[in-house]
Symmetry: D2
């Protein structure tokens, strides 16, 4: 399966879909995508760590980008399940979500995400996501 | 087990912990809590439905409130796992998260959340959350 | 939506599908089903508690029965995700899985299960399950 | 952190803990373990595919082995959460569970498992597991 959208096309598509799209698509491959986010004040929670919803957002975006890259801009994938394990306290700075699709079927896509923080080698969180894919109209 | 914090005390505690706390604690019981949120523009995603991170935030807050209500304000519970199933498209308006703790052990608390939207009778999302509880110092 | 299969019909269907079907369907309602299992030696693990796979099996069967009850025997639902939280040590004896469907869509069904043990009032485990439903041929 | 138990020691430990231990530990590394199982008739379900509980069992065993390998035989880890995504129909034959711990904290361990089937290159299932670790008595 060839890639239908490259890094630049994905970035443009997502910036048009979301009025304020704060993330950067930095890599796309076969069944993979990597997304980065520079955290801002509103991404933090009391204690100064990155909030859970921020981690969920970057993971969901990364998996969505990976699906779009494979299927092209017509895809309208809908998240049906998201399971997140919080592993280490995420510090403010640069978040990087490395996503990989484990399955891209006709009706469902399933993928996993490891989220890294600044120069850390161990993921601060791990996410599994499932997406319902629209029926193809061909 | 008696309730350690009532609705007013929880509201005040959370408003002090979070600079802008947009939710309202509306009910607290034995192992339960209910939280409401009036959605705003930044809670919506393209298409006009409520975003996944908004649903995750209200669920996480509801479970946190339920734990605080049982253990009192000294508790510093940390979310370790959150699993969300998206069931129906959530419309803008009033979100209500009804939370119930299934377990409140010495080290872990586990609870479930049904999120309702406006006058809807069926939940738009269901969440399971696990929290690590700090060692008691007594 | 009316119920398509009653307790007796479900029991017979499952006994024909599985050569040795050790469970008993004890209740079926609108979007609900209850299943019981008397644990045997091979359901136990070291320490004498009920094994995780046994709990998973009764939960999966209960949700499958609830789907069959709503859709009738033509349904060929396939489990796509199962999330289990182990809450208390399950003792040998009578397990009871109370299942409830939260969503029964065209393509996906989502349900939850509380598993009780003997006379216990608190669930020993909680399960969320997602099922892919076959396209209807009507 | 050095490995506390090798392949042979793990195999012996698990065969003593479980009267009939049908699996084979085939690899142990830093935060990893690989377990194999030759499926038998009782592992199959109607239609001839491998049952969900069989997949759950090999995943749980693999993660348990990975924890034992790091902590030694004193460890008494208890599964608290298991989340399984079924990706492809698993055929009878040789199952291989490749497990990797993402976190090995003082109180919790979290790991992931990819389960492969015969010569298949794509996983038939993916599992996330969380384990509560006993307080150390040192």
């Amino acid at each position: 399966m060839s890639i239908q959208m490259n890094v630049g096309q994905l970035q443009e598509f997502l910036e048009q879909a979301f009025t304020h799209f704060p993330m950067r698509i930095v890599e796309v491959g076969e069944m993979t995508a990597t997304v980065e986010l520079e955290t801002q004040a509103h991404n933090l929670r009391p204690g100064g760590t990155v909030s859970g919803p921020t981690l969920m957002t970057i993971a969901d975006t990364g998996l969505y980008a990976a699906i779009l890259a494979q299927l092209g801009p017509v895809a309208l994938a809908v998240t049906t399940n998201l399971n997140i394990n919080f592993l280490h306290k995420p510090q403010p700075g640069l978040l990087r979500a490395e996503t990989r699709l484990l399955k891209l079927g006709k009706r469902l896509a399933v993928g996993e995400v490891s989220i890294f923080c600044n120069e850390g080698k161990e993921p601060v969180a791990h996410v599994m996501g499932t997406y319902s894919l629209p029926p193809t109209t061909s």
